[in-house]
């Protein structure tokens, strides 16, 4: 966690740092629990000394948690609080994928941890009221940390997120684009005050060009990826994959360049073993945490007078707390606009259809009366089927995927293309199919396209209004 982190950190370094953070965090409760004299076997080197070794290399001495941080936290010692804030900051930042350094201002660290805990639904008011200088609240933080271990699955997320990549990874979720957008918002102030509109046009053209060349490069990359996958199919020892990735292909050519990768794999294996170990020892931890809660209950700290804080915190109307909330509210607005427009359209359409329907029925009344009820039932059935997709579409998608996936070429055998055919029993791999992702992306594209068109339409109205105000000039839109 040296200063290099804030700028462009190369991927492997980041990965190793993250892993060390996990190691750090894991190393943290091993010894401390031992000091609590809870039977906490430390037979394995992974929980004890070994993972801490890289951590020591990377972490400045100040940030390394003392072994008895947890014990101190149990008794709410202020000495432990700073360490705990930092720990949570580091872990949560990793999950949220933001940039961070060890030297970030403590106020910002505290702020972020509070925000992230709120975001994940940790609603303990005592935590939110901790002082911003990080000087107190180690026990509250211990509770929060424990809650994070369970509810969002902190460790699992960290492991999954920092997975060493040996394949050709590509992202599968559509939420990746939030990041550049938000960055854009912050850096809008241009260098010059007055800008020639032609400069803007030029920039716009340049942007298009970059997109274009990016597209070209993507396409080329696809071609190359596909070739590698195709030509090496059957070579990989992992039957689920079947073929090499780009990295692996190059690894054959230049094994000497991949020492670091091997190390990363090894250390990840160590992490995973530590995770397994943790799973074994988990009961001890949770029982211990219960005793922490018991202590608190005895002290009467568990729930404090609710009224006080309710009054303090329930301010009349919170307009906006952060850009995240603004963004979300904006999305909601747009969505409800869309839906309302659609509703209106449907309303009209249905009214119209009904009218014609009654007309038709009236003219053919005698003809249809008897037989139609049977067909009507059949039709209802089929429509019901048709609409079933629809309702599932509006239901929350449980397995919406996020993050990176390894691209795998599977030949077109019907069972394997779906990704959840026969193989599942053995591998139980969360294999999304490209076709599925493509479909999702197409829909996404369509709605974005519509949003853009709406914005442009809005502009057209405004500009037409302006042009109307001119005398003697007619504006003809293209």
């Amino acid at each position: 966690m040296t200063s290099g982190l804030c700028a462009d950190v190369s991927q492997p370094r980041l990965v190793s740092i993250c892993q060390d953070a996990i190691a750090w965090e894991r190393g943290a409760h091993g010894p401390s629990l031992q000091q609590e004299t809870i039977a906490f076997p430390l037979a394995s080197p992974t929980l004890g000394a070994r993972p801490r070794q890289p951590a020591e290399q990377i972490m400045p001495p100040r940030a390394r948690p003392a072994p008895d941080t947890l014990r101190r936290a149990r008794f709410d010692r202020p000495q432990a609080s700073l360490d705990f804030w930092k720990l949570l900051y580091v872990l949560l930042k990793q999950i949220h994928g933001g940039r961070w350094t060890e030297s970030d201002a403590i106020g910002a660290q505290v702020g972020f941890v509070k925000w992230a805990l709120w975001y994940h639904g940790y609603g303990r008011p005592q935590l939110q009221r901790l002082p911003a200088d990080g000087s107190a609240g180690s026990r509250e933080l211990l509770l929060a940390f424990s809650w994070l271990l369970h509810s969002p699955g902190l460790l699992e997320q960290l492991l999954a997120r920092n997975r060493v990549q040996t394949g050709d990874e590509t992202s599968v979720c559509t939420c990746e684009d939030d990041l550049p957008e938000s960055q854009e918002g912050t850096s809008e102030a241009g260098p010059e005050d007055r800008v020639d509109v032609r400069y803007l046009q030029w920039l716009n053209g340049r942007l298009r060009l970059q997109w274009c060349s990016l597209h070209a490069q993507h396409q080329e990359q696809c071609k190359l990826l596909h070739k590698i996958h195709l030509f090496t199919s059957g070579s990989h020892m992992d039957q689920n994959l079947g073929h090499f990735s780009v990295t692996e292909t190059d690894l054959i050519r230049q094994p000497e360049n991949y020492k670091q990768l091997l190390q990363l794999l090894e250390s990840e294996t160590t992490q995973l073993e530590a995770f397994l170990e943790w799973k074994q020892l988990e009961p001890v931890y949770w029982q211990w945490m219960e005793t922490v809660l018991d202590d608190m209950a005895e002290e009467g700290n568990m729930c404090e007078s609710q009224d006080a804080h309710v009054e303090k915190r329930r301010l009349p109307e919170v307009t906006s707390c952060c850009p995240w909330a603004d963004k979300l509210a904006g999305q909601m607005d747009r969505l409800s606009r869309d839906l309302l427009a659609l509703q209106q359209q449907l309303h009209q359409l249905i009214a119209q259809r009904k009218a014609t329907w009654w007309e038709k029925v009236a003219t053919r009344e005698e003809l249809q009366k008897d037989s139609f009820s049977a067909t009507a039932r059949k039709i209802q059935g089929s429509v019901g089927l048709k609409l079933r997709d629809l309702t599932s579409l509006c239901a929350p998608q449980k397995n919406r995927m996020h993050g990176l996936c390894r691209l795998v070429l599977r030949s077109k055998h019907p069972a394997s293309t779906t990704g959840c055919g026969q193989r599942v029993s053995r591998e139980a791999v969360a294999a999304a199919s490209a076709a599925e992702v493509i479909r999702e992306l197409q829909v996404r594209e369509a709605s974005l396209q519509r949003e853009l068109q709406q914005l442009r339409q809005q502009c057209r109205h405004r500009l037409a209004g302006i042009a109307e105000g001119w005398e003697g000039v007619i504006c003809i839109s293209p």
Binding site: S10, Q11, R124, T174, E282, W324, L335, G384, Q458
Partner: protein, 579 residues
């Protein structure tokens, strides 16, 4: 009529001046993006000019390397002109045209992923390409005659540009003046690599060798196209596309380190197989990077000699190793042969295999590892106890912000889906049954819409109540924008998270569609964000003022930017009748 009515030309050429005058880092071709913004014909002109330049084998060029035959035109552009480090855009002008056609065409491949023909251009496609190019040429002619002025104003740069277009014809000699330092090295390398050249397929060797050291890569690639242009455009195109890959690799490398290297390395590994038979679009599409590589050439020039030696050395080495050198024909190249033929027998190094299988076994064990019953019980007790002290005592009823966000994400495309259904309903039914079915469907859709609205309302309320508890983030804007955090409910088991995430694709076309769509989506995101900013910034500029002399141009520019994405311009007509 006002002079303004001259269509897109004015808008198109104007930025050009600005560019030249301004301190922008690039020169020459860089003007073209602006022109592209003006109108698509400008773009076409750009491309066809390059094609029309006296390159040997011109007619073939019209059909083969793609609509705009960028690969050839790019050569000169890359030659030492892009020496500025700030020139991030690879040879803009040459890239403009594809942008346009891409826009029109992209939806098609996306919708029909079954279209496999991309891999190999059908004769029909080629024919279309040729037609298109001819049309563009014609358009150029027409345009020239109509718009003498803008072309003339292009002045020095235009000439220079044209001069460059000639460059390939004269091949090496021409190259000499462009970047002086290159010359000697270039010669030397040439001498060194004579042999493979005679074999007609020098590229694989040369390219494979140097990618260990970046500068070498650049140098070689830079040099190779120059040489090969004289031989024949085809080779040139091939080689330059290589240059691109490595360039691409390079840029990645700076950003992501090792993973970048993969791309680069891999690209070189198997690039050769594809190229001879690959579709023209690909070659062309990739060629852009070459100029970027060329940009680096001046810097790297000094090391060229070294590189040359190295590559020669490697050549010998590799030909020994692969033993196929003598058999090289036009259609097969050894590099490809290697991966294609031996790909199936390749074995990963033992150390890696060991590490990998240990690693994947560990993942598997973690995935299958169950929380023990007493741990789960203790954990649940703890969590429940602590959640009773939350402000929302039952977190299940009030979703967390993360869950709200995720649910909203699930809803965001519902209107699009529903619209598809609505549009799919035919307006007219011949049968009564059809009419009935359609009516029922529409009613079903309406119900769905209201359900979604309800759900949205719930989410909105949940968000509001959550926001009341939101800690105020103190000004630090960036700090609280979660990037794609999967919201996992309490029920989620770790198995999901720890499974190997795989994305299976079944064909090249599918892969291409996937990447194209992903880019398209992120482009749209960006475009929307830009549109919003521009609306906020540009609309107020126009609002208050009456039409003054000169503000007509501004109006047109802004109109085009805001309403047409910079592609079309409105026409302002002075209504003479009033006078």
């Amino acid at each position: 009529m006002d002079a303004n009515s001259s269509g897109g030309a004015e808008g198109g050429s104007a930025p050009f001046h600005r560019r030249r005058a301004g301190p922008a880092s690039t020169s020459g071709c860089g003007a073209c993006p602006g022109r592209a913004a003006g109108s698509s014909w400008d773009a076409g002109e750009c491309g066809t000019r390059a094609v029309a330049a006296p390159i040997p084998g011109g007619p073939r060029g019209a059909g083969r390397p793609g609509r705009w035959s960028r690969s050839r035109a790019r050569g000169p552009a890359g030659r030492g002109r892009w020496s500025g480090p700030g020139a991030a855009a690879p040879a803009p002008s040459l890239f403009v045209p594809p942008r346009d056609d891409e826009e029109e065409e992209r939806p098609q491949p996306q919708s029909g992923s079954s279209a496999e023909q991309e891999d190999r251009p059908s004769p029909k496609e080629l024919e279309e390409l040729e037609l298109l190019n001819r049309a563009l040429e014609k358009a150029l002619k027409v345009r020239k005659s109509v718009l003498k002025t803008p072309l003339e104003t292009r002045g020095a740069t235009g000439q220079k540009w044209a001069g460059e277009a000639h460059a390939p014809k004269k091949a090496e000699e021409q190259q000499v003046p462009v970047s002086v330092e290159d010359v000697p090295e270039c010669r030397k390398v040439r001498a060194g690599s004579k042999k493979p050249m005679l074999l007609k397929k020098p590229s694989p060797y040369q390219l494979r060798a140097p990618y260990r050291t970046d500068p070498d890569v650049k140098k070689l690639q830079r040099k190779v196209p120059a040489r090969c242009v004289s031989q024949g455009p085809r080779t040139a195109g091939k080689i330059s596309s290589k240059g691109v890959t490595s360039k691409e690799g390079k840029s990645h490398r700076t950003a992501t380190g090792a993973s970048a290297r993969e791309v680069c390395a891999a690209a070189e590994l198997q690039e050769t197989p594809g190229l001879p038979e690959s579709a023209p679009n690909e070659q062309q599409s990739f060629s852009g990077g070459d100029s970027a590589a060329g940009k680096n050439s001046t810097v790297a020039g000094k090391q060229l000699l070294d590189a040359g030696k190295k590559s020669c050395g490697f050549l010998g080495e590799s030909s020994k190793k692969e033993d196929t050198a003598s058999a090289w024909g036009r259609s097969t190249s050894p590099g490809t042969g290697t991966l294609q033929e031996k790909g199936c027998q390749l074995k990963l190094p033992l150390s890696y295999r060991k590490a990998y299988s240990r690693n994947s076994r560990a993942w598997e064990r973690c995935r299958l590892c169950q929380t023990s019953a007493d741990a789960a019980a203790a954990r649940t007790r703890f969590v429940e106890r602590i959640q009773t002290t939350f402000e929302f005592c039952s977190p299940k009823l009030t979703p967390s912000p993360a869950e709200i966000e995720e649910e909203l994400r699930g809803l965001q495309d519902v209107p699009s889906h529903l619209r598809q259904y609505v549009e799919a309903e035919p307006a007219d039914h011949s049968t009564l049954q059809g009419e009935y079915e359609s009516l029922l469907t529409l009613e079903g859709l309406q119900t769905t819409v209201s359900q979604c609205l309800q759900k949205l309302q719930l989410l909105r309320e949940a968000l509001e109540s959550q926001l009341r508890l939101c800690p105020d983030c103190t000004g630090d804007v960036g700090s609280c924008s979660p990037a794609c955090v999967p919201a996992r409910g309490q029920t989620c088991d770790s198995a999901d998270m720890l499974a190997v995430p795989l994305l299976c694709y079944s064909s090249l076309q599918e892969l291409r569609d996937l990447f194209a769509l992903k880019l398209q989506v992120s482009m749209l995101h960006q475009e929307i964000a830009l549109q919003k900013v521009m609306m906020a910034e540009l609309l107020p500029v126009l609002e208050p003022r009456p039409l003054l002399e000169g503000s007509a141009g501004l109006f047109r520019a802004i109109h085009s930017q805001l309403c047409e994405g910079g592609r079309l311009f409105p026409v302002l007509v002075r209504d003479e009748l009033l006078d």
